[in-house]
């Protein structure tokens, strides 16, 4: 460890606002990108399933009521 205590780590020798804001924005951006990619995929798959179901229902109705 380069620091004597957890408090010293947080304080960053007086540079806390700079170090933690740069790291914080980086972490937030990476986490948001990963979360967004996952949500995008889930939403898309649900939408495609809905569309498939709708098309299936449509073609079945055509079979029954020509």
């Amino acid at each position: 460890m380069a620091f004597d205590s957890l408090h010293a780590l947080v304080a960053m020798g007086g540079h806390a606002p700079y170090v933690w804001s740069a790291w914080g924005v980086t972490a937030a951006l990476l986490v948001a990108s990963a979360v967004h990619a996952r949500a995008e995929r889930r939403q898309l798959i649900r939408e495609l399933q809905r569309r498939n179901r709708r098309e299936r229902n449509l073609s079945e109705r055509e079979l029954h009521e020509p």
Partner: protein, 253 residues
């Protein structure tokens, strides 16, 4: 040879291969970034001149490297799309551009924050900073251009051309610290020389850079796969794949 290239460019084949690769890249990214963060924030020694503000280097340099790499990737994908009409290249370009823009913003932001305690200013209009700002605008231009056309193909072509033209900015950014007088320090990593820093400072940086690369690959694979499903949704294999899921499950994410 041509058969192989076209197989490589087939969305279905890419989807299958990436299903197997994806978990490894996400895991590698998570491990490398966490190790790199703990190492860089708590264990690397502080700089004798800059003190602890130097720890910003562990996010600044990886973001800047990725910002350049994403742009080169965009130009290569644009070239492949324009010459061979391989749609997969355009799908990848679609998802790389926003991430590249985010990395460029991150490099500029962390640089500005770092500049306050070290240079006494958060911004100077010097060559490195200005060329990096231009790159951010190029990214935003590419993203906007893609959406500005009624047909997807026209938008894709325009975005590809802008990526190919904009890539001239890359050597300008790279050599800006050598061609012009600047506050910005020269590159930390070069292929030919050992870093000017002690090993306990640059090793965590290397871990962070590798972590950023793995994250970039994992994110690009994940989002390109979504893009494939979106654009190929009428294809039989996509319909079957979608039906085989309960929706939002994690297998092969």
């Amino acid at each position: 040879m041509w058969a192989f290239i076209h197989k490589l460019g087939s969305p279905k084949w890419f989807y299958a291969i990436s299903t197997r690769l994806l978990p490894w890249f996400w895991a590698a990214a998570a491990v490398l970034l966490m190790v790199g963060a703990a190492w860089g924030l708590a264990f690397a020694p502080s700089d004798y001149q800059q003190g602890n503000s130097f720890r910003i280097i562990y996010v600044h340099v990886p973001a800047a490297i990725l910002a350049q790499s994403c742009f080169v990737a965009l130009a290569v994908a644009g070239g492949i799309f324009l010459v061979w009409k391989i749609r997969l290249a355009d799908m990848a370009a679609t998802v790389i551009a926003p991430f590249g823009a985010a990395m460029t913003f991150l490099a500029l932001f962390s640089g500005a924050v770092w500049g306050v305690p070290t240079w006494g200013t958060w911004w100077v209009w010097d060559a490195r900073l200005t060329s990096m700002l231009i790159q951010l605008f190029l990214y935003l231009g590419i993203i906007a251009l893609r959406g500005a056309f009624a047909s997807r193909d026209s938008g894709a072509k325009a975005a590809s051309v802008l990526a190919l033209v904009g890539v001239v900015n890359i050597p300008i950014i790279k050599y800006s610290v050598e061609w012009w007088n600047t506050l910005h320090q020269p590159a930390t990593f070069t292929l030919t020389e050992r870093p000017a820093m002690p090993v306990e400072m640059w090793l965590p940086l290397l871990v962070m850079v590798l972590g950023f690369y793995c994250f970039f690959i994992a994110l690009t694979l994940t989002r390109t796969r979504s893009e494939i499903l979106r654009r190929e949704s009428a294809k039989r294999w996509v319909r079957e794949l979608v039906e085989g899921r309960t929706g939002g499950d994690t297998d092969g994410l």
